[in-house]
Amino acid sequence: MSIGTERPPALEARGLHARLGTTPVLHGIDLSLAAGCWTSIVGPNGAGKSTLLRTLAGLLPHEGEVRLFGRPLAQVPRRERARRLSWLGQGGVAEGSADDLLVYDVAMLGRLPHQRWLAAPGPADRAAVESALRSTQAWDWRDRPLGQLSGGQRQRVLLARALAVEAELLLMDEPLSDLDPPHQSDWIRSARSLAAGGRTVVSVLHEINAALAADAVVVMDEGRVLHHGASADPATHRALEAVFDQRVAVHRVAGQWLAVPN
């Protein structure tokens, strides 16, 4: 892994505070996420992982500063931000409201930031949607409404929607929820290949083993970053074991880092 110094960090946070309602959730986060890397954010429930991700995406009001590729996020125009930063939310879609949208149209929504207002999708848009749907193996359902798909299938369509943006930076909140093990492995492979292709991937993951497949791991608890380091670094493993009260132990098994319950 190379936490590159030649490019500016994809995302930087300085003194980040955020609250949900009136409850403070993030307490002064300082973080610098390298471009061209896949970083996973892990921690126990309620650590503030999703809040951090939403704040980094500019979706929550906050104190402190977020920089996107070296520029203050607040100064990046809305549409430009949407082209450079793609977002995949937690838990997919509330049942019902999107049931009548066709899979293809859902994926095409990812192209909105690239299209002029009211303009019909161009060849580039169609190509991006097709390759995104194929990469999550959802292309065969393109003419089916979302309501006819299972939870895991929906998740793959929503993932394709996020990929279709073709943004340099992808923020994903629990992208593996609802996916079966083979498709979890597919997702891990695609996150790796995105990073290998120069994109930056930041994911909040509950699956510690998937998180350890990333280039770097951010360990959070109680609204603070406890550790940020390479996933192969023993210090990262110790931080992971500590944050989960020593109830997991990280071992190297068959060339992969795995967290095994104690």
């Binding site: 979706l59 809305r78 082209r83 995949l88 009548d100 066709l102 149209d105 909105l112």
Partner: protein, 334 residues
Amino acid sequence: MNPRRRGPLLGLVLLLCAAVLLVLGALVGSTGFDNPFALGSNDPVGIQIVRDIRLPRTLGAWLAGALLGLAGAVAQGLFRNPLADPYLLGSASGASLGVALALWWLGAAAGSMPWLARLGITGAAFVGAVLAVLLTLLLARGVQQTLRLLLAGVIVGVVLGAIKDLITIASADILQALQGFMLGSTGLVGWPACALMAVLGALCLLLSVALAPVLDGLALGEATAASLGMPLGAMRAALVAVLALATGTAVAQTGLIAFVGLAAPHLVRSVVKTTHAGLILLSTAMGGLLLMGADLLARWLVAPQELPVGVLTAVLGGSYLLWLMHRRGARGTA
């Protein structure tokens, strides 16, 4: 069939049916069916009835239904709730209160100057509907929180309804005219009303189709919609404005027509799965066809008497929705 072709096909079918009903509507009157070939140039009264009464009324029914269908599709998308209808933000009770006030104020003058009364009632209904929506927005402190908006709409509806009831109790002589408004009627729609509804309807249609991508985005959740770079606040406000304008225009001309706005998008969705732009266009055509058909039935069923068209739409729309719900429930996909 390719699901992408079903939308345009349904649109075509809906418009063709409307064209057929327009011809039928011109022929149905208090005397039952007219023979179209008997309406020769030697019957100036007959021609005048068709030209000045039946045609504008039939077309007006289509236009008012179209406005309600459009408003229903926008409301259901905006509130992400399949039970949302055009009257959700208090416009129905606002319009009723406006009409009650106008009737009360016009009082005896209404009998002597029918066109002034008509204008006053139309204007009062429109102003009442729009003011009620503004009051709802004020109580909800903007459009950002849809749940708060829904609750404010309910509160405004109840309070304005109570005030209207107070006025009716104070002056019982307006009761019958008010009842006529609340049941809905297409009987008084003339060419000027048609022109007004056509112009405002076209404006609402253009605006809502242009804003439809935000409804698709919102269906995937607030955060996803925001991440797509759309100015959510401004677009929501514009959609609420379209909703208020379309509903207010329809209500002012035809009174409170029940169920068309709720049923039209459901009927469309039961046939075609499409984006909100397609849904809005098709719901417009569907709403128009529904009210036009209901108007025709209302005139024909008990001719030479006439049923209030709102009663008919409530009965027909309600039973169709019930059947739809039942069928979906049976398939386990409700």
